[in-house]
C-alpha cells in the first residue's frame, strides 16, 4: 500500500488544477452549440443591425458606431458571466457535481476562478468581434490606449455580473436558472442603455438606469471615448464594486445553505 504524507497543495499544483478546470469548462461549453452560437451571435448581430446598418443609412457613421460598439461590448460581455455562473452553477449544484467537488481535495477557489476565466474568454471573443466590425465597417477610430482601455474595462467589468450570476445559481434550481438569468439580463440591458443610447430615454428612465450595474459599466466604457452622460468615473467604479461585494456576500450566505447531501 502506498502511504504518502498529505501535503498542502503547492502553487504549481493549484495552477495545474485551475488550468485543467478551465479547460474542462471550456470544452464542456464549446460542445454545447446551443449555448455558444446565440451567446456569440446575438451581440454581434445586434451591433450589425443597430450600430452599423442604421447608421450607414442615416449617413453618419463613426461616432454612433463607436458609441454602440462600447455598449454592445458590455451587453456581450456580461451575458457569459451571468450564464456561466447563473445557469451552470445551478446545474452543478442540483446534480451534486458541486458537492462531489467540495468533498474532494480540490480548492474551492479553482472552481470559481475557472468559471471566471471561461466567462472572460467568451467576453473576449465577443469584444474582439465587435472591435473588428466597428473598425472595418463602422469607421470607428480610437487611440491605441482607448481601444485597450475599452477591452480591459469591459473584461474586468464582468466580475460584478459573475457575482450576480453566482447568487442566482446558488439560489434557484437548475430548471429555473436560465429563465431567471434572462429576466435579469435582458430588461437590465435595455434599461441600462446597452441597446438604445440612454440619452434617448425619458429623463425618469435615465434616472432609473442608475440602479443597474450594467448602466455603470456602460458609462465607464463610454467615458473612455468621451460619450458618457457626465457623472465622474469613480462613482461608476464604486457602484460596480459595491454590487460585486453585495452579491458575493449574499452568495456566501447562500453557499452555506446549499444542501450538500445529494
Amino acid at each position: 500500500m502506498n502511504i504518502s504524507q498529505p501535503a498542502p497543495l503547492s502553487l504549481a499544483r493549484r495552477w495545474t488544477i485551475l488550468q485543467l478546470e478551465t479547460k474542462t469548462e471550456l470544452v464542456k461549453t464549446f460542445r454545447t452549440p446551443a449555448f455558444v452560437i446565440p451567446a456569440l451571435l446575438f451581440p454581434v448581430m445586434f451591433y450589425v443591425f443597430f450600430g452599423l446598418l442604421f447608421n450607414a443609412i442615416g449617413g453618419h457613421p463613426g461616432n454612433a458606431a463607436k458609441y454602440m460598439m462600447a455598449t454592445y461590448a458590455v451587453f456581450g460581455g456580461i451575458g457569459p458571466a451571468l450564464f456561466s455562473f447563473g445557469a451552470d452553477v445551478a446545474s452543478d449544484k442540483d446534480k451534486g457535481i458541486l458537492s462531489l467537488k467540495l468533498v474532494s481535495p480540490m480548492p474551492v477557489s479553482s472552481y470559481f476562478a475557472a468559471r471566471i476565466f471561461t466567462a472572460m474568454l467568451f467576453a473576449l471573443i465577443i469584444i474582439m468581434s465587435l472591435f473588428t466590425l466597428g473598425a472595418v465597417f463602422g469607421e470607428v477610430t480610437m487611440t491605441h490606449q482607448q481601444w485597450f482601455l475599452t477591452l480591459v474595462t469591459v473584461l474586468s467589468g464582468t466580475l460584478p455580473f459573475c457575482a450576480m450570476g453566482l447568487f442566482i445559481g446558488l439560489s434557484v434550481s437548475a430548471k429555473a436558472a436560465p429563465a431567471i438569468v434572462n429576466i435579469v439580463y435582458l430588461p437590465m440591458a435595455f434599461l441600462s442603455g446597452l441597446w438604445v443610447p440612454i440619452h434617448l430615454f425619458p429623463a425618469s428612465l435615465e434616472m432609473l438606469a442608475n440602479v443597474f450595474p450594467a448602466y455603470h459599466l456602460a458609462q465607464l466604457t463610454l467615458a473612455i471615448q468621451g460619450n458618457d452622460s457626465g457623472a465622474p468615473w469613480y462613482l461608476h467604479v464604486a457602484a460596480l464594486v459595491a454590487y460585486t461585494l453585495i452579491f458575493l456576500g449574499l452568495s456566501v450566505k447562500q453557499f452555506k445553505r446549499v444542501d450538500n447531501r445529494h
Binding site: M1, S4, I17, D92, I97, L102, S104, R261
Partner: protein, 311 residues
C-alpha cells in the same frame, strides 16, 4: 485491539437532531486499514446522515468524528480519501478520460489512469462522452473518480442503487479489486446480500441507532430469522416460561415470536402442550428484521405494534 493510529475512521457517540427528530443517536463506528465495512439499513435509517458527518458536510450536535487522524472535512483527510456520493450525477459533454484527468489533478499522489481504468472496468470507454454511458458505467466512472487519488479510505454511499443485477455484480468486482489492493472501504447499502458479499464487518443502523454489528455471518443469523405465529389462548408470559429467550407479542387472537432457530423452538413449544392452532412459520423481510433488532435494542418504535402488519 490494534494500535489507535490504525483506526482510519473513528466515530464516537455521534448524535444529530434535525429539529425535533433524532437523526443519529449515539453512533459509534470504527474502520481499520484494509477493512471493508458495510453500513446496512433501510432508507431513512441514518446512513447518509452518518456519511455527511464523515465528509464534514454536517456538524454533529455531540460526539466526535475523526478520519485518518484529522477532523472531518480537513484537507489532509480529503487528500487521503475518495468519495462516491449518493445519487451524484456527472457533467455532460465531457469524456471519461477528461473527467478522470481533472479529478486526478486534485490529488498529490494520483494513480496511473491506466490502473484506475482497469480497476473500474472502464478501459474500453475512455473516449466516450459521459451522457452516452449506461447507469452502471456512470457509477463505475464515479467509482474511478473516488479511487484515483490512491486513497487509504474510500466511502461509497449507496453505490449500487438503481443498477440491474449484472451491473451490480460488475460493481462488486470493482470493490473487491479495490479491497484486494489494501484500501479500507466504507459502503452503505440496504441490501443484506450486498453487505454479506463485500464486507468484513457489518453495522446495522435503524432509526439513527446502531442496532447490531458484527461479521456478516453473525448479522445474517440475526437478520435471517423466522417469524412464528399461531392462534392460542396462552399469554406472552406463558410463552416466556417455555422459551425464555424469545419475546412474544400478541396480535388479536394470535401470538407471535421471532427466532433464529425455529426448529428447536418449535420442538420446545410442542413439548409444552400449549394450545396451538393455525401455525405459520415465515421468513421475514429485512425491514421486519430491522424492526425486530430495533425493538431488541430497546428503541421505542414510533408506530404502535398493531400497525406493523401494514408495513
Amino acid at each position: 485491539m490494534q494500535a489507535h493510529q490504525d483506526l482510519l475512521v473513528n466515530v464516537s457517540h455521534l448524535t444529530k437532531k434535525f429539529g425535533q427528530q433524532m437523526a443519529l443517536d449515539d453512533i459509534s463506528l470504527s474502520i481499520r486499514a484494509n477493512e471493508v465495512v458495510a453500513l446496512l439499513g433501510e432508507n431513512g435509517a441514518g446512513k447518509t446522515t452518518t456519511i455527511s458527518h464523515l465528509l464534514g458536510q454536517l456538524e454533529a450536535d455531540s460526539g466526535s468524528v475523526r478520519l485518518l487522524g484529522h477532523p472531518a472535512g480537513h484537507w489532509a483527510a480529503k487528500q487521503q480519501m475518495g468519495v462516491m456520493l449518493q445519487g451524484a450525477a456527472l457533467p455532460d459533454n465531457v469524456t471519461v478520460i477528461e473527467q478522470l484527468r481533472l479529478f486526478a489533478s486534485y490529488y498529490p499522489d494520483s494513480q496511473s489512469l491506466e490502473q484506475v481504468l482497469n480497476t473500474a472496468l472502464l478501459t474500453d470507454l475512455t473516449q466516450r462522452k459521459i451522457q452516452t454511458l449506461s447507469g452502471g458505467q456512470k457509477q463505475r466512472l464515479l467509482f474511478a473518480m473516488a479511487i484515483i487519488g490512491t486513497p487509504r479510505l474510500v466511502i461509497l454511499d449507496e453505490p449500487t442503487v438503481g443498477l440491474d443485477a449484472t451491473a451490480r455484480r460488475e460493481f462488486w468486482a470493482c470493490i473487491r479489486a479495490l479491497a484486494a489492493q489494501g484500501t479500507a472501504v466504507l459502503l452503505t447499502t440496504h441490501y443484506l446480500e450486498e453487505a454479506d458479499a463485500l464486507a468484513d464487518s457489518i453495522v446495522v443502523l435503524a432509526k439513527g441507532r446502531v442496532v447490531a454489528e458484527g461479521i456478516p455471518a453473525q448479522i445474517k443469523a440475526q437478520l435471517g430469522g423466522k417469524r412464528v405465529c399461531f392462534r392460542s389462548t396462552a399469554t406472552p408470559t406463558d410463552l416466556k416460561t417455555v422459551l425464555p429467550h424469545c419475546s412474544a407479542s400478541r396480535r388479536g387472537d394470535y401470538l407471535e415470536f421471532y427466532t433464529t432457530t425455529p426448529e428447536a423452538h418449535l420442538k420446545q413449544l410442542f413439548a409444552a402442550n400449549l394450545v396451538i392452532q393455525d401455525l405459520t412459520v415465515s421468513g421475514i423481510s429485512l425491514e421486519d428484521a430491522f424492526l425486530q433488532l430495533t425493538q431488541q435494542a430497546g428503541v421505542v418504535s414510533p408506530f404502535p405494534l398493531q400497525q406493523e402488519k401494514t408495513a
